[in-house]
Structure formats: C-alpha cells, structure tokens
Homo-oligomer: 128 residues x 6
C-alpha cells in the first residue's frame, strides 16, 4: 500500500468518525507541524481505526475509556464523545462507559469526563 | 437494598467475571484491610459491574482499556484479561482493544499490556 | 445498613466537609448521571470519609496530597482546599502539605496546586 | 546556611525517618550519580522534611498518599511505610491513609499499595 | 557554598533561561509560599540547571519532553518553550522534540503540547 | 512511498539504534500481535525516528526523558539507555538527562530510572 492510499483511507475514516472536528485538527496543524496532522490521518485513522476485529462502537468505547483515564485530555475526549455518538453509541452507553471507569481511576477523572460529556450532549441536544 | 444484598450481588458478579482470582484478592486482604476487600465486592462489583446499559463484554473492554492506560497495574490487567475471556471476549478482540490504545498512550504502555496478554493466553492455552 | 442509611450518613458528612460545593456537584449530575452523584455520597462520603482511624484533618491532608499528585484535577483540589479549611486545617498546614509533595512530584504539579490554593485563600480572605 | 550544614541537617533527618534505608539509597548512588544522593539528603531531607508547619507523622501521611497515587513507585512506598512506622504512625493509620485514597485513585493503585504495606508489616512483625 | 551563593547563581541562571517569566513565578508565590519560590531558584536553577554535562539547549530538550509527557502542565510548558528559544533551540527543533514524543505518549498529549507551542511562536512572531 | 519502503527504512533505523533489542521485541510479538511489531518498525522508526531536524543523540535524550517521566516503563527505558549509548551519548550525558528530570518529576521516578541506568552500564561495563 502506498502512503497516498493510507492517507486516503485514513481521511475517509476520520471524516466518518469525527465529522468536522477531525479535519479541523489537521488544518490547525498546517502551519506548525503538518506531519503531525498527516500522522493523525495515516497512522491513527488509516492504520489503527481501519483495522478489523472490533467495530467502531467498540473502538470508541476504548478511545473514551483511555481518554477518561489519562486526564488532561478534555479536548480529545470531547472529540471522541462526539465520535461515539457519530458511530452509534447511545448517550447512555457513553455515560455508562465513563461511570464504569470509576473503580479504576476514582472520582476526579470520572467527574471531569462526565462534565465534558454533559457539554457535548447539550451542544447536540441529546439526552440520556 | 441492605448492605448484605449489595455484598451478595457483588460476590456473585465477582465470581462470574473473575473466577477464582476475585475471591483470592478479597481473601488476601483479610488480615490487613478487610474493608477494602468488602468495597471491591460491594462497590466495584455490587454497584458498578451490576449496572445496566453495557453488557459484560463491553464493560471488560472498558476495564482493559483503562488498565492499559494507567500503567503499573499489571496484576489487575492480568485479572481483567482473564475476565474478558471469561465473559466472552475473544483473544483477538482483547488484542485489538490493546492495539487500539496505541494512538492514545503510545508504544511503551501498549507493549507492556500486550506481553501481559501473551502470558495470560499461554496460561489458558488460547491463541489469537 | 440499608442504602438509605449510607446515603444519609454520606450526605451529612458531605455537607460537614464540603459545605455547599458537595451538594452542588451532586446536583449538577442529576440530569446526566444521577447514580454518579449517589456514589459520591454513598461510597466516597458514606463509606470512606465516615471510617474511623483517621480524623477529618488527616483525611483532608491525604485528599489534598493525592489531588496534587494526579494533576489535572484543579476543580476537585479547589473543593478539598476549602474542605481542609472547613475541617480545621490552617492555611499554613495546607501550604506545607502541598510543599511537602515537591520531592515526590516535582515543581510543575506543586506550582499548579499552590496557585489553586492561592485562589481559594483569596476567595475566603484568609492569609498564611 | 552553608551546603555542609544543609547536608548534615538532612542526613540526621534522613536517619531519623528512614533508618538504614535512607543511607542505603545514597550509598547505592555513589558510583553512578553521587549528586543525586546529595540532593536526596540536602533538598528532600535538609530542606523539605526539616520544615516546620507539619509534624513528621503528618509529613509521612502526605508522602505515602502521593506515592500511592503515582503508582510504579513501590520501592519508595516501601521505604515510606517503614518511615511512617518509624515516626509514630500506627499500622492502622497507614492502612486508613491508603484506603482513603480509594475514591481519588481507584482500586488498582490502592490494592498495589496495600499489598506493599502488607509486606512491610510482615517484615516488621506488626499487625493492624 | 552558602545558601546565598546558591540563590544568586540560581537567580542568574533563571533570568538567563526564562527571561521575565521566571521572576514572575517567584514573585507570585511571595504572599503564599515564598519558600517554594526560593526552591525554584536555589534547587531547580542553582543546583540542577547549573550542572555541567549537558548544555542549556540539551537541558531544555529534556525539560520540554518531560512536560509534554506529564500532561496538565501547560503553563510550565509555555515557559519552557520560551526558554528553549531563549537558549538557542530553533522553533523547528522544538516542534521535532514534541513530535518525537508521539510514539511514547500518543497523540493527545502531543497535540496539546503542539498547540501550546503554536501560541508561543505566534506571541514571539517566529515561524517554523 | 510504499509500505514496504517504510518498513525497510524503519527496520534499518531500528537496527542502527536499538541493536538486537529492537528485532527481539518485534519477534516476541509475532504470535500474538504481529501488526504491533510492524507499527514499531514502520511508524516509530520508519516515520518518527527517520525524521530530520534532530540528530539521533538529541532524539534519544527526548526518548529517555519521556520514559523517565511516564514511570512503569523500565523495559523500554532499558532499551533506550542502550540506544543512547549506541548513538553516541556518553554515560555521563545519560545520567545528566535523568538528573535533569528531577525538578519536573521528583525523586521516585528519577531514582527508578537511575537504577535502571546503573544496570545497563554494569551490563555494558561502562562507567560514568
């Protein structure tokens, strides 16, 4: 597979999952680190998100869980709560995934994530 | 619901998911911090794992992802890779979930987790 | 003990320690994840903060130290610096606890925490 | 104050708190990074642990809490559980401090820390 | 060496590296934790940054990398991207250092850091 | 560029930097997650380590610093201390880089890293 094919596959996947948010991140990197945007497309989406073995709803469960756990990644968590809804997770499933992290990471990270979810749900006018 | 009912519900759930590993952790806490074992049963399993909204396969995807991300939790990751298999995740799905964390947490944590999965799979004589 | 009793014990403890901030968090979760608010009350305050063996001043020293260390938990740190003052820690003891984390977590997390303390002290018009 | 005075003050404090474990760490750094050992003595113990405003029992509560939270610091946690006992914390207070971290950091880090405490208590033949 | 000499050496180093940002941090700690400011000067700059064995450009590569990795330290990262430019790292070298962290820490922390660098570069009107 | 070219460029870079350790990691992933080994080669080494703008000595300073900071990545840190020596960093420069992390991450992570360096230096019979 050529680099161009990976990029195109990644770009299509990125649009499918992240909507406008994905291309916006890539665009905002253009003048400082265009290759970082290229890696988002080629590696994160062209390679990893394009893999078989888990469907996109499962993949977004994993993405949300890892972002809840890391902390300090609210912008990315916001993108992936949108992404979860885009690929068919229900608001309730997202709330449950965040809640399920509680015994593993404790209340502070889970509360921060839940308030991020609350903002996204309000923006999209969806309810749990 | 009384505390006893939460404990019993949690204990049953713990046995269903973790097999012998769960009760062993609770037992090993008896002489130093029995209440911590009680909270594992009542809160983690009686409250959180007993919730609706995600099935156990989805819950173990979340548990594995958060443990991959935290790092330094190899004993718990081992328990939950076993647990994932116990509740019906395939070895391949577990490998995919760990791999999917790669763009979020980088290679070191993902490699550590994959080698933990490799040990569990060898112990259970399952293959990807 | 019934769930109701745990909730009531936790609620009373939450009010005693966090003042208005505790109920506000619970309230803000009502429309998205009411059970998360319930767990704050029942588990964090009804179970853990209600334990014997450490007094509330010691418990808030622990809470503040763990929040300084995690990083990215400024909202919760703010609540628990207020809580520390509420249960009788002096501003100086709080400053010392944050400073004592320095050899363990380094300057960045300690500086972030100290500026959070500064805001709380200004808000409450207390001085070190 | 001269560097020598800071070193001597720190060395005395280190011996008082850590017993033999402190000098052993300093000794083991001699052939690779002697200045790192010097900073342990001068800065961590000569400056920070020698401060007023918290007594040594409070300081070890903070040290233990930050080490529980960081994860992956079992050798240092072991030293400071010994240190906590050396300066007068009871085994029960140490168990309580670790347990109190639960709502903040979740079960995995707390379980790892509790099993470290169990080892130290067994080694010193103390019981909770 | 006396404490005064460490302070003076540290202050000079701090000014050389951080420009006005360093003294501003020290100043902002005056009314809450003046000793923390003193430790920034004496220990971080008087001891560590004054060491031989790495030049200041190498030291700022290390500082930037550790701050990218920790996450949640955007204010300190901002100071040290300025510092990197102050001691002679090119904007491109800073972008490369942040990009090089990608396989180790993943996209979220690297993206947060890159957008911090973008702000600093815009403020200083430098381009990659 | 085709995938094959990225792989070959990455493989050559991996051999140059990591010696036998790199191929061993890739080999050990063969039966569980061969694509993860492929990504190590293609992405980490074929894309990132093959970039211009920093030389390999600078890149290993960054790699070591991020691994010191993350904690719990001792196997990877060991590989990259070897790698640092392979690409021309002196033992003293590696010790300095680890020491320089001290004001940013505190003593526990730095001590763990320094003892890892000590092991590598002993294995290679090099001295500081």
């Amino acid at each position: 597979m050529t680099t161009t094919e990976r990029y195109e596959r990644g770009w299509e996947k990125l649009r499918q999952i992240d909507g406008e948010a994905g291309p916006n991140v890539v665009e905002s990197l253009k003048d400082i680190a265009p290759d970082l945007g290229k890696y988002v497309v080629e590696f994160a989406f062209g390679d990893v998100y394009s893999r078989e073995g888990l469907d996109l709803r499962q993949r977004e469960l994993v993405s949300i869980s890892t972002l809840v756990t890391q902390g300090g990644c609210e912008p990315q968590l916001q993108v992936h709560i949108h992404a979860g809804l885009n690929v068919g997770l229900s608001p309730q499933e997202i709330v449950e995934a965040i809640t399920h992290c509680l015994p593993y990471v404790g209340f502070p990270r889970v509360l921060n994530a839940m308030f991020t979810a609350k903002q996204v749900f309000q923006e999209r006018k969806v309810t749990v």
